[in-house]
Amino acid sequence: MEIKIKLNGKMVVDNIEADLLLIDFVRSHGCRSVKRGCESSNCGLCTVLMDGKPVLSCSVLAARADGHTVQTLEGLQEEASNFVGFIADQGADQCGFCNPGFVMNTISLLRENPDPTDDEIRAYLSGNLCRCTGYEGQLRGIRNYLNSRKD
């Protein structure tokens, strides 16, 4: 079947199988930041924005995304660059595999709630698992970024 998806600002037309997952679609179109993790809708590694909302691309049919807008980290570099340095400064990532999903969901958090409390950050990012760290580094990084905006 033919689908049309606006992927990172560019219209992409493709013929796909009915059961192709969105993660496989975006990766086949060069968006390798989107990682395959748990494959049971738990870890957040495969987070993309569909019509501006974060979803798990491992659990969305590419066919469902037909006619919609999809963004991955490849298309949001500038927005991400505002805060990823603060996370890096904390040494928050070890292997870094969770990072793209983490960054994507943080972008969504900050769009929805530009000045979140620590508890709001924890709650919003609870669907992003990191098996290297204790999440405190990421939290400190985001907090430092938020504080820097107030200075």
């Binding site: 009915a18 809708s41 979803v55 798990l56 659990s59 049919l61 609870s126």
Partner: protein, 262 residues
């Protein structure tokens, strides 16, 4: 992962219903639970173009389309004002925001999953389901029915005067619940719905009028003991039957006390 031969976005409910009469075809909602399974289907029937992704509020009721996401009900001011935040509390620990942006109310209610926080909270309200062929029936009745090939179109919550408190026990945040519990007072009648027992959530009423003279520590304890006695539990990887029965007493009592402002 389930394999799919064909994907169809239904143009009408009738088209979706007709396709769904073939046992090899299935409705896909959020697809989050279905995806964890295996097997194959001929046609995946998607309801996403039928305008069922809206919550309509009138003076009498909330009408929640089957494709409304858990995130929508989490953020809906009217629903959460009416339920004193119980609906938000029921869903906010379900995996993460990304999951809740895909998981649908229709999928959760239709599935009648034992672990469903969603079924547990709506069961304690004056809630009905609208089925395409089956019409409107109380959620309490629907929750007991076997699966068939009808379509769940909407979930309707009547705005009966209500106070509601929800809580769940999880081994870890975002995990499946070990037990879910809602206590409500709807139209003056006290109810408790218990889910993750681990069977489908079930509703019990204060038929013995244990709370009729008001909520006190003693009456809350008595009602909680009565609920625990009437709700069957089983054991699984998350907890034994005895543990769940104990949790029913604890969560029900806490919720009753919270309902009474104690």
């Amino acid at each position: 992962m389930v394999t799919i031969q064909k994907y169809v976005r239904a143009k009408t409910l009738e088209e979706a219903y007709t396709l769904n009469q073939n046992k090899r075809n299935r409705i896909v909602a959020g697809m989050l639970w279905m995806k964890t399974g295996s097997g194959s289907m001929n046609t995946a029937i998607d309801l996403c173009d039928l305008g069922l992704d809206k919550i309509e509020e009138t003076e009498e009721q909330f009408s929640i389309g089957a494709m409304v996401t858990l995130r929508q009900i989490e953020l809906h001011e009217g629903l959460n004002a009416y339920s004193s935040g119980a609906i938000r509390n029921a869903v906010h620990d379900i995996i993460g925001v990304q999951f809740r942006n895909s998981a649908t109310v229709g999928g959760s209610i239709w599935g009648r999953f034992g672990f469903s926080d969603v079924l547990t909270v709506f069961l304690a309200l004056d809630t009905y389901v609208e089925l395409y062929k089956g019409g409107i029936l109380p959620l309490e009745q629907f929750a007991k029915l076997p699966y068939d090939n009808d379509l769940l179109v909407r979930v309707i919550v009547k705005k009966a005067p209500a106070a509601v408190v929800y809580s769940a026990m999880r081994i870890q945040r975002t995990d499946f619940p070990v037990l879910t519990c809602t206590v409500s007072q709807v139209d003056g009648q006290y109810r408790a719905s218990i889910g993750a027992r681990p069977g489908r959530a079930m509703l019990v009423r204060d038929d013995e009028h244990l709370l009729a003279d008001g909520i006190t520590q003693q009456s809350a304890e008595a009602f909680a003991a009565s609920v625990a006695e009437r709700v069957p539990t089983l054991g699984n990887i998350r907890g034994s039957a005895a543990y769940r029965t104990h949790l029913i007493k604890v969560l029900t009592q806490r919720n009753v006390l919270a309902l009474g402002g104690l």
